[in-house]
C-alpha cells in the first residue's frame, strides 16, 4: 500500500449511520464494530487501515508501527482522561449514562441543552465513506467535505464525555501522530502480532515514551509611546502567524503572546529564538518532560499540586483547631498552652509536607524533567552609553531625528528594525494629527491558568449531573478541550471585530491585534456601546463564565485624548484587575465582575439633567458626589443608583459609569 496514512480521518466511521453488517444482528454503529467493517470492505490504502485498526479490539488491532502510533495519538487527543474511557467506565457506559452526539461545550451549554439518547449526528452511509476513502483524501479534503458535521459531532457520545468535537479530536490526532513520528518513536511491525501483545506493548510504551510540554510567554522590553512604536504589536502578530505556520503541529494553544507547545523530548524551547531574534524579544517558559501515559497540558501542574495540597492542609488544620475549641476538647485552664502545642504539631506537619513537595520538584529539576526560565536573544554584561532609548536593553547604534519635533532618538538595532516602515496603523496616525480626538483602547485577555481552573470546575459540575462517580478525581482538562475552546475564542474575537466595525464604522476602528482595538469616539457615552457588544458576545459564546466567581476572559477599556501616551494605557490594558475594567484617564475608573455587567447596563439613569450634574460634581470632588447621592435630593433624583448600591455595586464604579453615561 503506497498511500500515506492520514491520521485525521481515523474516526470517520463516527459519522456513519447504523448499518447492517455481515456478522451482526440488525443495524449496528460501524465505528464500534471495525472488525466487521474490515471483513466486509477492503480498501487498499493506509487511511482505511487506520480507520479500522486504530483501537486494539477483538478482530482488528494496530498491526504496523504507524497504526500503533495512530492508536497512541488517538488517546492523547481524547477529550477525556483515561479514567473516563470505556475501559474504565465499562463498555456499556453509554447505556448507563446515556448518549448525545452533540458536543457539550463546558463554557456554553446548559444541562437543558442535552438530549439524552435522542440525538444522533451520523449523517453518512457506509458506501459514501468507502467511496471517499478510496479517493485517498488528504486531511484538508476531509475537513472540507465534512466540515459541517465535524465541529458539532462529539468525539465521544457518552454523556459526561462528549466535551470535544470530532473536528478538534481529528485535528489533534494528526498533530500528535506527527509529533510521535518526529520523536522517532516506532515499534517493529512483527511485534504487533496479536491483540494481546499490542495491549502489552501499549502499556509498556506509554510509560517509556515521553513528550515535552512547554508553556511560553513572549515579552518585549520596548515601551511603546507613539503610533510607530505600536509596530511591536504588528510584529507579535506576524510572529504568531509564522510560528503557527512553521511549528504548526507543535502548537496546541496560543494567544497573541502565549504558546502551549508539545515537543519531541529532544527538541528544545530554543526553537522559538529564531522567530524573536530580529526584534530583541524575550520569553519566559516552563517545560516538563512527561510520560505519554499522563501527558498534561500544564507543565506547572506539579507546582500547582504542591500549592494546593499545602493550602488544603493549612485549611484543614485551622478547621480542626476551631472544632477542638468548639467541642471544648481543650480545657480552659490549659487553653493557651494546649493551643500552642497543637499549633507546633501542625507547623511540623506543614513543614514536612512542604519539604516533601519541594524535594519532589527539586528531583524533577535535577533530572532535567522540569525546567523553567527566561530566554533572552542577547544580553550584554555592560552597555556603554548611549543605550537604546526605547528598550534600554542594547547599545544604541542608530539615530533617528523626528521630522516634526526635531527630537533626536538613539536606537538599538532591534528598535530600529521595529520602527522600520514607519507608521502602519494609518487611521490612528491620522487621528493624532487632528485636534480634540478621543480614543478608547480595548483589550481582551485570556488568563490560561484561570481558564483551566474554571473549565475543570465546570466539568466537575457536568460529571456530577451525568451521574458519573468521583467527578473530582476524573475531571481533567486535556489538550483537546483547550483546542476546542480556542476555536470558540478565536471565533468570539472575530465576531468582536465585526461588531465593532459595524457599530462604529470601519473608519473609526483600528485593529491592532485580534484582541486589541483602538476606537475613535465622539463622547464617553460611546463606551456603553462597547460594553453592550462585549456583554452580548459573552452571552452568546461563553455564558457559563458569567456564573463563575471570576471570568478567565477579561476586558479593559482605557479612554483618553488620542495624544495621551500609549504606554500609560498599556500598563492598564495588560494587567486587568477585574473581569470588566474601564479607565477614563484623569477622570476615574471602574472595575466590575462579568456577572454584574448586565445589571450595570440595565441601569436606566433616566434623569439626564441630574446625572450630568452628578457627573460634573464628581469631576470636582467624588466625596461631594457621594454626599449628593445620599442627600434627600439624591434619593429623589437617583433611585436607580440607590437600587444599584443595594445590589452591591461599588459607589466609585457607579460614579465612573455615571460619567460615561453623561458623555
Amino acid at each position: 500500500m503506497k498511500s500515506e496514512l492520514v491520521p485525521e480521518i481515523h474516526d470517520i466511521l463516527k459519522l456513519c449511520e447504523n448499518t447492517k453488517l455481515p456478522g451482526a444482528k440488525g443495524a449496528v454503529a460501524p465505528h464500534t464494530h471495525p472488525d466487521l467493517v474490515y471483513k466486509h470492505v477492503r480498501i487498499e490504502n493506509q487511511t482505511w487501515e487506520g480507520v479500522c485498526k486504530h483501537h486494539h479490539r477483538e478482530g482488528t488491532f494496530p498491526d504496523t508501527s504507524n497504526l500503533f502510533l495512530l492508536h497512541i495519538a488517538d488517546r492523547l487527543a481524547a477529550g477525556v482522561s483515561r479514567a473516563l474511557t470505556e475501559h474504565k467506565l465499562g463498555a456499556d457506559a453509554w447505556k448507563r449514562y446515556g448518549i448525545d452526539d452533540k458536543v457539550f461545550k463546558l463554557w456554553k451549554n446548559s444541562f437543558v441543552d442535552i438530549k439524552r439518547d435522542k440525538r444522533h449526528i451520523r449523517p453518512l452511509n457506509l458506501n459514501t465513506i468507502i467511496e471517499f476513502i478510496a479517493t485517498n483524501p488528504t486531511a484538508k479534503e476531509y475537513f472540507e467535505e465534512y466540515g459541517s458535521y465535524l465541529p458539532i459531532r462529539a468525539e465521544s457520545a457518552t454523556l459526561g464525555t462528549n466535551i470535544t468535537s470530532l473536528y478538534t479530536h481529528s485535528k489533534l490526532t494528526g498533530q500528535f501522530y506527527r509529533i510521535l513520528k518526529k520523536a522517532g518513536y516506532s515499534v517493529e511491525d512483527n511485534r504487533l502480532s496479536s491483540r494481546e501483545t499490542v495491549g502489552d506493548i501499549y502499556n509498556e510504551k506509554i510509560k517509556k515514551w515521553t513528550l515535552k510540554v512547554v508553556r511560553c510567554k513572549v515579552n518585549f522590553s520596548q515601551k511603546p509611546f507613539r503610533v510607530r512604536d505600536l509596530n511591536i504589536f504588528r510584529i507579535l502578530k506576524e510572529i504568531r502567524r509564522r510560528i503557527g505556520e512553521e511549528l504548526g503541529d507543535y502548537v496546541l494553544f496560543s494567544t497573541f503572546d502565549e504558546f502551549l507547545f508539545v515537543l519531541p523530548p529532544n527538541k528544545d524551547v530554543e526553537l522559538l529564538k529564531p522567530f524573536l531574534a530580529d526584534y530583541g524579544l524575550w520569553f519566559e517558559f516552563s517545560e516538563r518532560i512527561q510520560e505519554i501515559k499522563d501527558l498534561h497540558p500544564d507543565p506547572e501542574k506539579l507546582k500547582k499540586e504542591a500549592k494546593f495540597e499545602i493550602e488544603k492542609k493549612k485549611k484543614e488544620q485551622e478547621e480542626s483547631l476551631k472544632l477542638k475549641q468548639v467541642k471544648n476538647q481543650i480545657p480552659k485552664d490549659r487553653k493557651k498552652e494546649a493551643e500552642k502545642r497543637i499549633r507546633m504539631g501542625y507547623k511540623k506537619t506543614l513543614e514536612e509536607l512542604t519539604e516533601k513537595w519541594e524535594r519532589k520538584i527539586k528531583e524533577e529539576k535535577m533530572s532535567g524533567l522540569l525546567r523553567e526560565g527566561a530566554e533572552y536573544v542577547e544580553l550584554f554584561p555592560v552597555i556603554k552609553p548611549p543605550i537604546c532609548e526605547i528598550c534600554q536593553m542594547a547599545p544604541a547604534e542608530y539615530t533617528r531625528i523626528d521630522e516634526e519635533s526635531g527630537v533626536k532618538e538613539e536606537l538599538c538595532k532591534y528598535c530600529w528594525k521595529i520602527q522600520e516602515g514607519g507608521e502602519r496603523l494609518t487611521k490612528l496616525a491620522e487621528w493624532t494629527y487632528e485636534e480634540g480626538i478621543k480614543t478608547a483602547w480595548l483589550k481582551v485577555s485570556l488568563d490560561f491558568d484561570k481558564l483551566t481552573e474554571t473549565l475543570k470546575q465546570l466539568y466537575i459540575e457536568y460529571l456530577k449531573w451525568s451521574g458519573i462517580p468521583d467527578p473530582e478525581g476524573k475531571a481533567e482538562i486535556r489538550f483537546s478541550v483547550l483546542s476546542e475552546f480556542q476555536l470558540d475564542y478565536d471565533s468570539f474575537l472575530n465576531q468582536l471585530e465585526e461588531e465593532m466595525v459595524s457599530k462604529f464604522g470601519d473608519e473609526n476602528v483600528e485593529q491592532i491585534l485580534d484582541d486589541f482595538f483602538c476606537v475613535k469616539i465622539d463622547n464617553l457615552s460611546e463606551i456603553v456601546k462597547i460594553l453592550s457588544i462585549y456583554k452580548e458576545l459573552i452571552e452568546s459564546y461563553f455564558p457559563k463564565f458569567k456564573e463563575t466567581a471570576e471570568s478567565p476572559i477579561k476586558m479593559v477599556i482605557s479612554c483618553s485624548h488620542v495624544k495621551f501616551p500609549f504606554f500609560e494605557h498599556w500598563r492598564y490594558l495588560k494587567n486587568p484587575e477585574d473581569d470588566v475594567n474601564v479607565m477614563l484617564v484623569g477622570s476615574g475608573k471602574m472595575k466590575i465582575e462579568l456577572r454584574r455587567l448586565g445589571d450595570l447596563l440595565d441601569l436606566e439613569l433616566a434623569n439626564k439633567t441630574a446625572i450630568e450634574k452628578l457627573a460634573r460634581m464628581a469631576d470636582v470632588s467624588e466625596e461631594l458626589a457621594f454626599m449628593q447621592i445620599f442627600s434627600e435630593e439624591g434619593i429623589k433624583n437617583h433611585p436607580e443608583l440607590q437600587e444599584a448600591l443595594k445590589k452591591g455595586f461599588n459607589l466609585r464604579d457607579l460614579l465612573t459609569y455615571v460619567k460615561i453615561k453623561s458623555g
Binding site: S221, K223, F225, R226, D229, E284, R371, E372, G373, A374, Y376, L379, F380, P381, V382, I383, K384, P385, I387, E389, I390, Q392, M393, D402, S405, G406, V407, K408, E409, E410, P565, F567, E568
Partner: protein
Amino acid sequence: MPEYLQYALESEALILGERIKGGVFRPSCKTLRWSTITMALRKFFGSKDIHAVGIFEPEPETSYFVYSPAERATGISKIPLQVEVLNDVKGKVYIVKNDEVNFPEEFEIFLGALISKGFGRCNLEYEGEINNIERTEGILNTRIPIKYKDKFLIEERDKSVYGYLFEPTSETSGIYIKSLFEGSEVVGPKFLLR
C-alpha cells in the same frame, strides 16, 4: 552576613525618570532602584562605599506635570514635555550597614528629576537595624545590579527579568550594568520581595 539600616521614606512628589527621551512623555519608575537611591546617598554623604535599595509602599498615585525646557543658547522652548509625577510617596530604604558612614536618625535628600522645579525632596527617618535576615523565595520588588546582588542577599532563581541600571564611573561618565528587575524570581530578604 550583611546588616541593613531601615529608613522610612516620605516625599510629596518625585519624578524618577525611566530615561525615555523619544517621546514628549516621560514616565516615572515605580520602584526605588539601586542606582537612584545609592547615588543620592553617595552624593549626600560623600562616600563611594554606599549601597542601598528601596521599595514604595503602597504603589504611589501618579499625576502629570507639563514643562517646556528651553534651549540654553537661544532660550527658546521647542516642545512641551509631559512628566509623570509620583505623589505622596511612602516607602522604605534599606542601606547596607557601613562602618565608614555615620547615618543620622533623620535626614533629607533629593531624588530624581526636576529638583529645581521643587520635586524630589525626600525625608528619611531611621526605623531600625535589620540583622538575622529571613530569606525566602519570591518575586523581587526593586532593581539591583547583578554584580551587587550578594550585598542584598539575592540569589537568582529560574525566571529573571533583566534590565540595565546606570553606574557612574567618574564625575561625568558612566556605564549601564546588567541588573535584576522587579518581577524576577529570586531567593532574598522578605522585605525586598512582593
